[in-house]
Symmetry: C2
Amino acid sequence: MSDEPTITTIARRAGVSIASVSRVLNGLPTRAETERRVMSVARELGYVPNSAARSLKSRRSNQIGFAMADIGNPVYLAMVREIQPMLKAAGYRLVLHSTNADAADEIDVLRGLGERYIDGLIMIPLRVTDGHLEMFAAARAPIVVIGSVPEGTPVDNVRVDSRAGVRLVVQHLHGLGRRRIGFVNGPLDTVPGAARSAAYAEALETLGLPYDRNLVEVGDFYRADGARAAARLLERVPDLDALLCANDLIALGALDVLRRAGRRVPEDVAVAGMDDTDLATIAWPPLTSVSLGSAERGRAAAELLLDRLDRDGRAPRTVTVEPRLVTRASTMGEETP
Amino acid sequence: MSDEPTITTIARRAGVSIASVSRVLNGLPTRAETERRVMSVARELGYVPNSAARSLKSRRSNQIGFAMADIGNPVYLAMVREIQPMLKAAGYRLVLHSTNADAADEIDVLRGLGERYIDGLIMIPLRVTDGHLEMFAAARAPIVVIGSVPEGTPVDNVRVDSRAGVRLVVQHLHGLGRRRIGFVNGPLDTVPGAARSAAYAEALETLGLPYDRNLVEVGDFYRADGARAAARLLERVPDLDALLCANDLIALGALDVLRRAGRRVPEDVAVAGMDDTDLATIAWPPLTSVSLGSAERGRAAAELLLDRLDRDGRAPRTVTVEPRLVTRASTMGEETP
DNA sequence: TTGTAAGCGTTATCAG
DNA sequence: CTGATAACGCTTACAA
């Protein structure tokens, strides 16, 4: 395992200066003979340019960060699947950060921007703290936030009208004749949790249904938490006829609980999730879910970031994605999705 | 947005040399007063060390690559979920590569090792070509391969005895009285496809069952392909009483097809998958599956790599993970998993 | 304890 | 067209 060849090695072996080597390697005009010699030595030695040296000189790392709570969540996964190939096509590598929704962790990532190991960052903060806002303001590289940020925050921003999304499902359930519509939400101090909570209340009001706090239960955004929360809800309100879940994972947990409790879905209880992840079509019965355009949001975020990396300077942009209701058997009683 | 502060900036502002700044920043012995001044300026300026410069000097990037076919596959996902926190704890960042199972792409990643933007690589090649082997041999940084490699390949290696895994399920199905055990495999020119194909034949033989090529169908490792392949198989062999699928995604496709065909699972056809991903417990009926220890393999790979980064030089190691049969309703006829 | 200076591997400028 | 040389930001002998 000989030492890594550098342009100096090549220069010596080819009998030219390192400047010439660099020129050849970068396709700058060079005498044919020189080029030939350099290329031949380079190939022979298996030369590969050192990225640290390049980055130091060029002030670009050709890496982009993606920070989200947990890659295991299918929503983020759907985003990564869009983002990664786009970045790759644009010549960037993807550095993945799972933050466990820990604000301190997220802020660490933001601080990391100063290290310049990434040229830009796509981030999905579950909660936006003052610490976040400070770092956004001081950031030394472009950031795209997926999720809502306060007006005036100097970052590009991709959001989804989850309010409209909640309204869509609630109307759907109401249209099916359901009147006791329970709601299993995620933590209220998270951005999506808070938004969905408000949207649920608003949607009920629009439909002239009373808001009954007994119908609302909060857990975390995972299947097991969803199951527990749904169980509590079911015990408290046995005559529930519909259940809206703040994401698909929660809905899966709810389905488990309902099945075990012997409730038929959708006959006894109609169940709907949010995010419309792949899991919705795997669940049984297939899960009605509001698509919040995860893939689309990922794509938009990557586009915004790549755009800004191309030429910076313009004002922050916001892209809003429209939610879309996808009805399946868990509310419709049809066998096939 | 002022220019990034460097140690030079700090040195000037603190009235000391860059060497002193560096020392303070690295916790080397320094006069208290100097330290105070430097730290105060550094904090005030929001100094963050430049990672490219550091890497160039230290010859370490503090990054590790993970290359797999498709992050959307729950098996790889399970691995990333183990690997990422371990690397993070050890001070490494994770660079993600999705290769679409394209050999050329994978080789590009291996070539990238020469750029030194990662200190090591965990890779799951779906096919191991001569190109791979060459690059393994020439690699300038440690590699851990998840999956089998030829004897003597100079990389650390984590494998699973998938042969034993297949045997476990086939025996299980046989023990349930099934005799017409179909097999939906992935592409035969992939490492897992080939291994599972051989193992299936072998398992039948061990049990004294005849190998009937009509009972075998090949598609890709995805749900839709699995569905198509299962449909072909079902049409050709209507009296099938069990179906082994080369992974859970294929099994999900098969479940769809069987349901649409009005076959009861497991009464008419018992279905089993492989990998025991999260999907197995989401599917309906819950899917019997052979765990190939994805999480465990991820963990082992990270351990091997971190170990070797600590001190290189020892001989390549191989860790083998034992498969484990997880029975659920898709073969057992129980309602609960 | 501190400063000077060399060097990590590139790119880019500026003379020849 | 080419070579010497100066950066890029940092760590680390070595000297003071």
